[in-house]
Structure formats: C-alpha cells, structure tokens
C-alpha cells in the first residue's frame, strides 16, 4: 500500500465512511454509502481479492443501495434542516474506545505479503489446498474448489441462510408471494 493509487483509494474510502456517519439527510447517506462500497470493492481488487471485490460491488454497492433507496421511497423522508449530524457525546466515547481497540489490532497485523502472516507460516494447510485442489477437483479456481468442494457443507449452510432471508422477509411483511400470483 505504498502506491499513489492505494493512498488515494484509502482517502476516498475514509472520506465516504466519515460522510456516511456524519451526514444528516438519509438519501445523501445512501448515495455516499454506495460510493463507499464501490471504493471498498476497488480496495479488494487492489488487494488481489477479485472474488470478494465482485461480491462487494454487486451486493454492497448495487443491491443494498437499491433496497435502501426503495425503503426510504416507501417511507416519508424528513427534511433534515441541518447538513451535518450533531455528534452524540456517549456515542462518540464508545466510538473512540472502539477506534483505539481497532488501531491497536490493525497495527499488530503482519504486513501485506509478509512471510510471517499465518497464511504462509502454516504451509501444511495453505499449500495443501493450492497443491491438491486441481488434482482433486479439476477446477482451476482454488477459491471455488474450497467453497464448493472441501468446504461444501459450509457453503450449503450459507445458501440456506440466503434462502431463509428471503422467506423471513415474506413472514415479517405478512405476505405470501414475492411478486404476483
């Protein structure tokens, strides 16, 4: 994270995150939050995690923004009067404490690409999947091999959670159909 692009991206994500927290108008918050998600998607791509980047761009920036917009469109939007949220002192104290813990944690992380990172210092686990995934499954993408193969039961649970989210929304809203009969 030494390139100018990385620093600019970090600044963009930080600025949009702060704006999301501080802006008063909900519509403005949703739009800035979409920009934040797009920045995070670029960040994941920048950190060489394209699978996570695609999910963040599609779900975080796309679907979540549309669902939030839809929700405020069906409710009454209050005119804020003031542009910036007045900080709440107890919330600020909690935030400060959390920030100290987070910064303390992040500074203990191994550097990006460091040989001491757990992913490298445990070669018998990591290297096993990298070496065996193609031989075992004939699938080139090791992420897919782990998700659908080695860890398939876990993925089954995740898929059922997505399914349950759809059903529970129907239950909460008291409807029997998603679209029409």
């Amino acid at each position: 994270m030494v390139s100018a692009f990385g620093i600019a991206l970090f600044g963009f994500v930080l600025a949009t995150a702060l704006a999301t927290a501080l802006l008063r108008d909900i519509l403005a918050v949703i739009i800035v939050f979409a920009a934040y998600s797009l920045g995070m998607a670029l960040f994941y791509a920048f950190l060489l995690a394209p699978d996570v980047a695609m999910t963040e761009a599609a779900i975080g920036a796309g679907v979540t923004t549309l669902l939030l917009l839809l929700t405020i469109a069906t409710t009454v939007r209050e005119e804020p009067g003031i542009a910036i949220e007045r900080p709440n002192l107890p919330a600020l104290v909690v935030f400060g404490g959390l920030l100290v813990v987070m910064i303390g944690t992040v500074t203990q992380f191994p550097a990006l690409g460091s040989r001491n990172a757990p992913v490298w210092s445990n070669p018998e686990v990591t290297q096993y999947y990298l070496e065996h995934s193609y031989k075992d499954t004939k699938v080139h993408n090791a992420v897919t091999a782990v998700l659908a193969g080695y860890r398939g039961f876990d993925t089954f649970g995740e898929a059922v959670v997505v399914f349950a989210a759809g059903i529970s929304t129907l239950v909460v809203l008291g409807r029997e159909v998603f679209t029409r009969e």
Partner: protein, 170 residues
C-alpha cells in the same frame, strides 16, 4: 434539495392502488437498455466461468438478480412485477436449495458422506468437476438470483396492513 417538500414527490399508483416509488426517466431507461444485456451476460459468464477464473455462482447470481432490479427501477416496479411471476422466483430460490441438498444427499443414500464429490466419479463415472459445477450453477446461483429479485419486489410492496386478510393463494 432543501426547498423541496416531502409530499411533492410524484406519486404513481400501482395495480393494487398502493403508492409506487417509480418515476419515469428517459435517461435511466436508455442507460438500462444498453447496460442490462451486458450485465446479464456478465452474470452468466461469472456463473459458468467461476470454476476456472475469479467470480462464481454467488457473484453471478447476484448480478443476474441485480439486472432484474435494474429493469424494475427503469421501467416501473409494477410492470416488472407483472412480468416476473411469483412461481419463477420461488422455483429459483426453493429449487436451488433443493438441488444443492440433492447433490449432497445422493452420496449419503449410497452410504458415502454428505457432498462427497469423489463418490460421483467412483459410482457413476461423473467427473468431480461436474459436481462442483452443479452446486454452483443449479444451487447457489438460482438461490441468490431468486432471493435478490424477490426481496426487491416484496420490499417495494411493503407490509400488508394487519387487518387485511390474504385471500389469494398460489
């Protein structure tokens, strides 16, 4: 934006008389006309190439579902709701979950473990890769695409009033 009153918003009535959030816009309609075929193709590309390149069923399914959302945003939620039958959404979501469970349970019926992919090769000569592809393309992707588009329409419709009885059945 501060001089606009909240109740000045143009109100479009849906088929059931409820308020719709839809506002017709030539710019959004033209943009979606260009982007939708691309994003649908890209969603299927991610879905079918997930095994060999970045991406996969979750991302592909989400983009396919988001394409339906995009069309609904541009051309009207009510008219898109009429085009997309509830049966389609339910078959995608529930069928995906059932297919995933089926791929996992068939080896168990023969005494192997849940989702034991190599079993398909030993028993039926089906390549292990096709088991993974079946989970991706027939399981996860339809669930995600169905739930994403279903959530959009059900949230757009909002909650039913508590006194109103649901009389129709599917």
């Amino acid at each position: 934006m501060s001089d606009r009153q909240p109740n000045e918003k143009p109100v479009v009535r849906g088929a059931d008389g409820s308020e719709s959030a839809y506002v017709e816009s030539q710019v959004i309609m033209s943009t979606v006309r260009v982007i939708a075929p691309f994003s649908l193709t890209y969603g299927f590309f991610l879905l079918f190439h997930g095994a060999d390149s970045p991406g996969g069923s979750f991302q592909g399914g989400a983009i396919i579902g988001a394409t339906v959302l995009m069309i609904a945003f541009a051309f009207g939620i009510e008219s898109t709701r009429n085009w997309l039958r509830n049966r389609t959404v339910v078959v995608l979501a529930a069928g995906g979950a059932a297919m995933f469970a089926l791929v996992g349970l068939i080896p168990m019926a023969y005494g192997a473990n849940f989702l034991e992919h190599p079993f398909y090769h030993e028993q039926f000569g089906i390549k292990t890769k096709w088991g993974l592809e079946a989970i991706e393309a027939l399981g996860v992707a339809p669930i995600v695409a169905g739930v994403v588009s279903g959530l959009f329409f059900v949230i757009a419709a909002g909650a039913l009033p508590a006194t109103e009885e649901v009389s129709e059945d599917d």
